[in-house]
Symmetry: C2
Subunit: 147 residues, 2 copies
């Protein structure tokens, strides 16, 4: 689940299996989603693809990401009014660490959330199917600049 090439293959297979066509624009979007560790925004993906496809529409980026969301191949991280960020590298729920200054988003590898989920189920009676865990602070780079 960590090799971008394999991620890309898996995305393409999943699309084909569901009868979607593999267009050059779509492939370019998939590549960014699979290879990017940096949780890009739609705007960033759009600007990067415009280098090779100057006529692409930002609506095409939105639509393709939406498709990948429904196939479970990308995780959307929405932040209130700010534009969403996307994780196509690790598309299942996991903690993120967000720098409030430079907006960098880093994955965390902590995994013991089954215990918490169980406690929440007991406490509230909800049936839990998903979670979102974010930590906010300053990344090492921005800490240095502040001192």
């Amino acid at each position: 689940m960590h090799d971008p090439k394999i991620r890309l293959e898996k995305m393409i297979d999943n699309l084909k299996r569901h009868g979607y066509k593999i267009t050059p624009q779509r492939l370019a979007i998939l590549r960014i989603l699979a290879y990017s560790l940096g949780h890009p925004s739609v705007e960033e993906i759009y600007q990067q693809i415009r280098i090779d496809f100057p006529t692409i529409s930002i609506a095409t980026v939105y639509k393709n990401i939406s498709t990948m969301k429904t196939l479970g191949e990308v995780l959307e991280l929405g932040f209130g009014n700010d534009s969403s960020r996307y994780d196509g590298h690790t598309p299942y729920p996991h903690p993120h660490v967000i720098c409030t200054k430079c907006k960098k988003i880093v994955d965390s590898q902590l995994e013991n959330f089954q215990d918490f989920t169980q406690k929440v189920i007991q406490e509230t009676g909800f049936s839990i199917v998903n979670h979102r865990i974010d930590f906010f602070g300053l990344c090492p780079d921005c800490q240095r600049q502040n001192s």
Copy 2:
């Protein structure tokens, strides 16, 4: 921190201490924030206040909530494109449990996030100052309706 009357007093004190005026509209908004356990949206607050203040503007609701946010007296829960929900009852970070069907939001009392925060600090080198923890699923009521 759990008695609505005391919450309301604290909010009013905090506003006065910072030189804000206590207007009837503001007071009505504070009352909803302090007493409501249901994490209301701006629209819900607006509709409720219109009963007593038919001429109030929704911008006034937004502006007052924004003021309370800067004073740390209300916690904003943004959800991507959907409208934000507000917690004026327990205005510091704590886990929330959200029903994906009826949009109900319930507080969780789980508190052991210092350990996780420490691990995230060690893992990433970030300085963590805040967090957001949400669990998504079906509330007991909606589970019944589905079966």
